[in-house]
Amino acid sequence: MANVIGGFATSHVPSIGGAIAKGLQRTPYWSPFFNAFDPVHEWLAREKPDVAVVIYNDHGLSHFLDKMPTFAVGAAEEYRNADEGWGIPVLPPFPGHAALSWHLIESLVADEFDITTCQEHLVDHAFALPLKLMYPDAGANWPVRTVPITINSVQHPLPSALRCWKLGQAIGRALDSWPGAEKIVVVGTGGLSHQLDGTRAGFINKAFDQLCLDKIVSDPEALTRYSNKELIEQAGSQGVELMCWIAMRGALTGRVSKVSSAYHVPVSNTGGAVLLLQNEPLPQALAAE
């Protein structure tokens, strides 16, 4: 049986890519964010996951308004990063895991999540930078195979926090029923509070972000009770990317404990946050094997 060993979440702002390219990780501006990855690197070196299922929002690279999927699952053997117009380096291609993708697709649709399937799918900074942050020395040889899953954060109506939680739970059920022996980490990217547009641009809400960082570990269903209007009021118009964290957390079906977390304002225009969770199967799940 496959084994979901943990969940990981991080902010994904594009300027992280610029900071990596310029070697600014240990400068005063960037070090509070990049230092948060030291315990993540230790955990990854120890646990050695084989697969990363990455839940994120596309920012207008793979999906456009001509056809905008609410939820989409990549179903390819390779995913390419590409120019997004923001001058950050394009990262080497990421290996996919098409068999696991199709297992997820079968299971999610059977579970009444009628997702869009993508055999051609460009992965933007919100997928690529978290992998680069996890594996800074990987070069072109990424140590994990990947499955990208996107949630629409561009065009309202967006799915609710509750719906994204349920999606995560369905992803968790699918991964728990995968017959392979791979060790899997579920990754959620984005957030926390930020707003790029309008006269409220630059809005950051540290108190709400810290509440989210606490609740996502101990009481994630509390976060599913916010409407999207309430989430945008509290976290800014792009702060709804929290939905990717909520879906990640929903996919962890075992006993969940925090390995490490960090929070720093600002990372670009954003409340920067990193969270690593361990997921251990519940006793009844072990007994059923």
Binding site: S15, H59, G60, L61, F64, L65, D66, A82, D83, E84, G85, W86, G87, V154, Q155, H156, P157, Q195, L196, D197, G198, T199, R200, A201, G202, F203, I204, N205, K206, N228, K229, I232, E233, G236, S237, Q238, H264, V265, P266, S268, N269, G271
Partner: protein, 113 residues
């Protein structure tokens, strides 16, 4: 109509997606470096090719983010346009809030205290 309103906070819903389609499609094309160059070489011709409205063309000429949003632009696509001129999300934040760039950056830092 969007489903809800929040002061100072654009909500990009069906109405905006329809009104802003040509503008956003043009900005989506700026993922490609050759298209960015083609726009730089002939802004008016490029806007004509995408069929932008007069209000959208005026807002593009003025590099005015709030006017672009009012004309149906979505910030994720507009950021690709802004970047052609080297404008970061701090630059466009300063422009939209009427702050200087330094004041906007100070505002970001202050919210961490």
């Amino acid at each position: 109509m969007s489903q809800f309103t929040i002061p100072g906070t654009p909500i990009f819903g069906g109405d905006e997606a329809r009104r802003g389609y040509a503008l956003n499609k043009m900005c989506f094309s700026f993922n490609d470096g050759a298209n960015r160059e083609a726009f730089r070489a002939d802004e008016e011709g490029y806007m004509e090719r995408y069929g932008l409205t007069d209000a959208q063309r005026q807002a593009i000429r003025a590099r005015n983010v709030l006017a672009l949003i009012a004309a149906g632009g979505n910030v994720y696509y507009l950021a690709k346009f802004a970047r052609i001129f080297g404008l970061s999300v701090q630059d466009i934040g300063a422009q939209q809030t009427g702050m200087s760039l330094d004041a906007f950056k100070d505002h970001l830092v202050a919210q961490g205290n």
